[in-house]
């Protein structure tokens, strides 16, 4: 890096108290309008799906057979389905499940991936080579096929869904973490920490882990939409969550079966799902640019 660019980076914030990496990143993220809008949109959708079902009068389960296939209007904002259930309530409730699956499965993959990658990168040598060979083999397995197989064979089990999706997504996380750990290991401050006689666990958790967080957070942000998409694919094939519970994927499936009578049944779940994916992707891109200004921007 040239001296000039290093200088300009140091003086982005004129806060006399100094500026941390995270503060710099936040300022850069705020400067990216698309990412900021996405962030607010995502917070809005999250709040809506978390709080909405608690506040709403109509429940996602309540049927009203006198009021089936009602178009969107005053009575019900997004219309009703074939059993007279309020679509707005169902979309909010479905979003809860979709987002929960997205987050929990990402956390599972994060924990496995970071632990595996850090171990592999820190130990290095033969163990590293062996551990990465395992990842390479797993990489070449047709995993979507396995996830579908797992769901069909062992039934639609919510816990299994997390395990299956988490098992697919940790591989890339492990690779990223390992690469970062390998290069951090060579850094002078790690050498200094070792020279001071710190234990391996202290070096790993106090010095390496905090420096890994940037890329890991960026990748995690991009994993959430990928997981949500996989869950929706499973739900669409009838392998995800079951009625009366619903996710956006299963609502889209139901909607696609009845769209000729009631197009709104596919329109609204599809809209919420697509916009949320869009926002998460923009946010992930924005975070990448903010946390790692050196990374290429496409």
């Amino acid at each position: 890096m040239s001296i000039e660019s290093a200088k300009s980076k140091d003086f982005i914030s004129e806060d006399p108290g100094g500026s941390s990496l995270w503060r710099d990143a936040w300022i850069r993220l705020r400067a990216n309008r698309l990412a900021t809008i996405s962030l607010y949109f995502f917070i809005f959708v999250s709040l809506l799906t978390i709080l909405g079902p608690e506040i709403l009068i109509s429940s996602y389960e309540d049927q009203d057979l006198n009021n089936t296939f009602a178009p969107p209007g005053k009575e019900s904002l997004f219309g009703t389905d074939n059993l007279g259930r309020d679509l707005f309530a169902r979309v909010l409730h479905g979003g809860r499940i979709s987002l929960a699956v997205g987050f929990l499965a990402t956390v599972v993959s994060l924990l496995i991936g970071v632990a595996y990658g850090m171990t592999s990168g820190y130990l290095g040598g033969k163990i590293d080579a062996l551990m990465m060979r395992v990842v390479d083999i797993l990489y070449s397995l047709p995993f979507t096929i396995f996830v579908i197989l797992l769901m069909v064979l062992f039934g639609r089990n919510f816990i299994l869904l997390f395990i299956a999706i988490g098992a697919v997504e940790w591989l890339t996380m492990a690779r990223i973490t390992r690469g970062q750990t390998l290069s951090l290991k060579q850094a002078e401050f790690i050498e200094a920490a070792r020279a001071l006689g710190y234990s391996h666990s202290r070096v790993l958790f106090r010095h390496i882990l905090p420096n890994l967080l940037g890329p890991v957070i960026v990748y995690a942000t991009l994993t959430v939409p990928a997981v949500m998409l996989l869950e929706a694919v499973l739900s669409f094939l009838g392998l995800g969550v079951q009625a009366p519970m619903s996710s956006w994927g299963s609502l889209i499936k139901e909607g696609s079966e009845k769209m000729e009578i009631a197009p709104w049944l596919i329109f609204f779940p599809g809209l919420f799902f697509s916009l949320t994916l869009l926002a998460l992707n923009f946010l992930g891109d924005g975070l990448r640019d903010a946390l790692d200004p050196k990374a290429a921007k496409d």
């Binding site: 047709p142 096929i145 769209m259 992707n281």
Partner: protein, 305 residues
């Protein structure tokens, strides 16, 4: 080159072995059997069926039997489609899926490449913004939303195209378009990024300085480097086309391999599931190898010393 191919094929053997083992035990340990779903089968007949397929033997014996048959290229008989070999069923269903995949890829390339090149050449213009916004929309509209919406528009409302089936050319348009638009959007973004990077290279400036026409600069000099990210993407894209075909084939009722696979898993048709998974795995491995070879021929730097 030959060494590279041989090494890759040798590396594929343990992978395929792991896949066969995993799938075998997964299907067998799952609750239910191939002959459980039929109603009112007398116990003797069920026993006879099971002994006919060797299901009464201990699991490890069945496993070794399957592996030894596999080594001879025999995928065994289907448990559900009586009188059919698994390989025959794959040979019947795969061409349909392959056709769908090829048409989709063709649509994706025809739409994506020119869009990406145009956006890169007119960077930050109205063209660029329009094309890239459309591409982002295409990526975020998953196939299972896009498919039904296209059916709604073109067959329910306009009545131009049939909504399902796989008999005539008209049947093939909507499914291929659904899958193709998604990948086309990806390819457009990747092409734009690749072209932008290439257009900044010194050798492009040299070509321009030597008086090459803009068209010649793009077609003769820039496109090779600009296509690299697209080629890299094609590897995962093939795998994606395969899993995408599960969705598309179930939306449009297409009798392809994806539908056969899902049905077979539901039916506990052990040999059919194993055969299909192994077939998909081989396909992915071969296609990845082809992609790597294309990449090596486009980018001398990626060739191993």
């Amino acid at each position: 080159m030959v060494k590279f191919i041989v090494v890759r094929i040798l590396q594929a053997i343990p992978t395929l072995f792991v896949i066969a083992t995993l799938t075998f035990f997964m299907t067998r340990l799952a609750p239910g059997g191939p002959f459980d779903s039929e109603k009112n089968i007398p116990a003797e007949i069920k026993e006879k069926l099971e002994s006919h397929f060797g299901l009464e033997k201990p699991l490890y014996e069945q496993y070794f039997l399957y592996l030894s048959n596999l080594l001879q290229g025999d995928l065994g008989p289907s448990f559900k489609y009586m009188g059919w070999e698994v390989s025959e069923l794959i040979a019947k269903a795969f061409p349909v899926s392959a056709q769908l995949g090829l048409f989709s890829l063709l649509i994706a390339l025809v739409l994506g490449l020119p869009a990406g090149v145009l956006a890169a050449l007119r960077k930050n213009s109205a063209y660029d913004y329009c094309l890239m916004t459309t591409a982002m929309l295409g990526i975020c509209l998953p196939t299972f939303v896009m498919g039904p919406l296209l059916i709604l528009l073109f067959s329910s409302w306009l009545g131009w195209l049939p909504p399902l089936g796989w008999y005539s050319f008209a049947d093939m348009i909507l499914p291929s378009l659904t899958l193709g638009l998604f990948y086309g959007a990806y390819i457009a973004r990747l092409t734009r990024a690749g072209m932008l990077e290439t257009l900044n290279q010194d050798y492009i400036r040299t070509a321009r300085a030597k008086g090459a026409s803009p068209l010649r600069v793009v077609l003769r000099h820039a496109i090779k480097g600009g296509l690299l990210p697209v080629v890299t993407f094609l590897g995962p894209a093939f795998a994606g086309l395969i899993s995408g075909s599960f969705i598309i084939e179930s939306i449009f009722f297409i009798p392809g391999l994806g539908r056969f696979f899902v049905t077979a898993a539901f039916n506990r048709d052990y040999t059919m599931v194993l055969g299909t998974v192994l077939f998909y795995a081989c396909l992915i491995i071969i296609l990845n190898l082809v992609v790597d070879l294309i990449q090596a021929s486009l980018d001398p730097k990626s060739r191993e010393p």
